[in-house]
Symmetry: C2
Subunit: 190 residues, 2 copies
């Protein structure tokens, strides 16, 4: 299955995908799941991941899609370096989120650029990311220069890309929908 959707969504200027590097099945199980959920909730179209293939992860995200709608899915890539090179060859851009990179304010350069950049791969590491990836990326961007979390970095990055509008995203074919409450839980089932 190729999760790459060829038809652009009409409502999005940016078509963003996540690439999670070097997933370790046991150690990263929950963090990688959070990365995928954040990707989906904050407007990315899908997540690729390298490292251990993990059916549990793929199934968890599939179940979220079944219940909460949309088309977001997760796909394993065997060779992330050639994957990134192919992405760039076909005209897409690559951003690597790292505390060592340039401040996120530099994102404006990315935003000012042309169509070449409308298809965006956002790379986030699990373990230490080899220096080669820094060189492959078009931009190494830091969400602050303190140690924190790739989950948070991804969320804040996508929030900057979509300027907060992502928090109002609605997903097609959702079985579950929340009715916001001041102090309680209200979940509609279709």
């Amino acid at each position: 299955m190729d999760i790459h959707q060829k038809e652009p969504r009409e409502d999005a200027d940016w078509r963003v995908y996540v690439l999670r590097l070097n997933h370790r099945r046991e150690r990263d199980k929950r963090i990688t799941t959070h990365c995928a959920l954040v990707g989906r909730a904050f407007g990315a179209l899908g997540m690729y991941y390298s490292g251990d293939q993990d059916e549990g992860l793929e199934t968890a995200i599939k179940n979220v899609r079944i219940n909460w709608g949309g088309a977001f899915s997760v796909q394993h890539v065997r060779n992330p370096v050639s994957f990134i090179k192919d992405w760039k060859k076909s005209g897409g851009s690559v951003v690597h989120l790292t505390m060592y990179g340039l401040p996120i304010t530099k994102i404006s350069e990315l935003f000012q650029s042309t169509d070449r950049h409308k298809e965006l791969l956002v790379m986030i590491g699990a373990s230490k990311v080899p220096i080669g990836y820094y060189r492959l990326a078009d931009y190494n961007l830091a969400i602050g220069h303190q140690p924190h979390s790739e989950v948070a970095a991804l969320a804040v990055f996508l929030d900057r890309v979509f300027k907060g509008s992502e928090l109002e995203n609605e997903f097609e074919n959702a079985k579950l929908r929340i009715i916001p409450q001041e102090a309680g839980k209200k979940l509609l089932r279709k």
Copy 2:
């Protein structure tokens, strides 16, 4: 040890602390650590947590503080309900981040309010949060109404509170400091 710093930081309008509910030592180890790191990096002053007491977590954050500076630390609370009640009695506000809550845009109400709200406790759940906490909170706020991650919710919430300025935070007594690079890693050690 009480991590609550009585002296206000001069540079912050908001004094924010995190309360992580019901930490489970094995299952939540990494996610709770990410919550603490995000709290620190995004401008909170400390994190309280209930559930299993976890020396590994406390030591991990202590080591980050030793290397990266600042005064952020983590403290276990035995009874979160009385802790929250005491917080409110002493004039502080409590925000609970939950996908079931009102949209984060409602945060403006919180921001418009007076000194009563300058000391803020941000609650985030690990497992399912009992309904009583929704009633205890002054505000139940949703960072979108899709399932994602408390790590991301905390980051985006603090980013809204501090309006992006938190990403330029510098920490006192840091041994390590990053010099941002276009494509590489540069770490200064003092």
